[in-house]
């Protein structure tokens, strides 16, 4: 196996690990949180978006522009690492500005429509 092939295999394995971690985090986060029971999710309107820290605002703005997307698709627009965007997107999910859902093996994010 050439060095290039070996690196590609490592990359593929890392991506699979990342997807599994996303899936695991997603299951934890979609579990009902009793402390928030009855709360209404925060709508991500433009004024709320402007009050976000720079890194999360860039991620959320990108999601508004491109629509539902995977962390990898967002990272291609923001030119940041996929894992970094995955982290930012999951922060937005925890803030209830963004929803996370699965289609096949891929994890997608979209602006919360509640």
């Amino acid at each position: 196996m050439s060095e290039k092939e070996l690196l590609e295999e490592i990359l593929e394995n890392l991506q699979q690990m990342n997807e599994k971690l996303d899936s695991f985090i997603g299951k934890k986060e979609t579990a009902p949180d009793q402390s928030k029971k009855g709360n209404i999710a925060e709508s991500l309107d433009i004024m709320t978006l402007l009050s976000l820290p720079d890194h999360l605002r860039t991620t959320a703005t990108t999601l508004f522009e491109i629509g539902p997307a995977t962390a990898e698709e967002v990272s291609k627009v923001t030119l940041k690492e996929r894992a970094v965007e995955s982290n930012y997107l999951n922060q937005l999910v925890r803030m209830e500005h963004v929803e996370k859902y699965r289609e096949g093996r891929k994890v997608y994010f979209r602006i919360n429509e509640k």
């Binding site: 709508s43 309107d45 433009i46 402007l50 860039t58 703005t61 429509e113």
Partner: protein, 248 residues
């Protein structure tokens, strides 16, 4: 590629609508396909200028009830422009304005999605330039349009209040949204304005249009179309060229 431009200002009465309408007409005369959208839904103006016969409004596009193609009207034949000239109107009915003023943050969040979706649809219809005529200051509809734009044309007058509020808008809205900006000094009084500037707040000043009574008295005309040799029309044409050279 479609280029979207929001004509915005910190204060009212700076001449945003005159500049938006004439700039749209200048692009259409030049052969560009243009769509002018009235997003000043709390104080609509374009209906008074174009007197359209319409059933669907920009309001319907923002609320997601209609696609943008259903809400825009082709006025190119009426004005004899080389490029296509579409206009989308806000509903001037006071009941509609009151209804929209009551909308919550969730509605505004969806309105932003719909305006971005509308921009993509116009891009698919070979529109070269979208111009948003916005309401002044920090209204949801205006800032949504700013967020959906590629450049913000800040229409400025020589008052201290306008100067200070523009500074706030740049720091609190345009910069956090990473928007390119250009300043247009409108209704300038040379004895108040002082020497002309190339940059203000670090932003290019691309036009300084003198205060002219006959621009106000001829407000039933689109001067770029009816009087291309007028000082105002020439300033609009020069502004159009600078936007093309520096930003598009």
């Amino acid at each position: 590629m479609t280029f979207a431009l929001a004509v915005h200002s910190s204060k009212g009465g700076t001449g945003k609508t005159s500049i938006a309408v004439n700039l749209a007409a200048a692009y259409a005369l030049d052969g560009k396909n243009v769509c002018l959208l009235d997003v000043d839904i709390r104080g609509p103006s374009l209906c008074s200028i174009f007197k359209p016969d319409t059933y669907f409004w920009i309001n319907d596009m923002l609320s997601g009830d209609r696609e943008i193609k259903d809400t825009i009207h082709d006025v190119s034949e009426r004005f004899g422009t080389k490029g296509k000239f579409f206009v989308g109107y806000s509903n001037p009915d006071i009941n509609q304005i009151r209804e929209l003023a009551r909308k919550d943050r969730s509605w505004q969040s969806n309105a932003l999605k719909n305006i971005i979706k509308g921009k993509k649809e116009l891009s698919g219809k070979n529109i070269d330039v979208i111009i948003f005529d916005t309401s002044p200051g920090v209204e949801y509809e205006s800032i949504n349009a700013v967020a959906a734009s590629d450049i913000v044309l800040i229409v400025h007058n020589s008052s201290i209040a306008c100067h200070n509020c523009t500074d706030q808008l740049i720091k609190g809205i345009y910069s956090p949204l990473n928007k390119q900006c250009a300043i247009v000094d409108n209704m300038c009084h040379p004895n108040v304005l002082g020497p002309s500037e190339e940059k203000r707040f670090g932003i290019n000043v691309i036009a300084q249009i003198p205060c002219m009574c006959n621009v106000a008295t001829r407000n039933n005309e689109i001067l770029s179309l009816t009087d291309p040799d007028h000082v105002f029309s020439k300033a609009i044409c020069s502004m159009k060229n600078k936007i093309e050279d520096f930003y598009m």
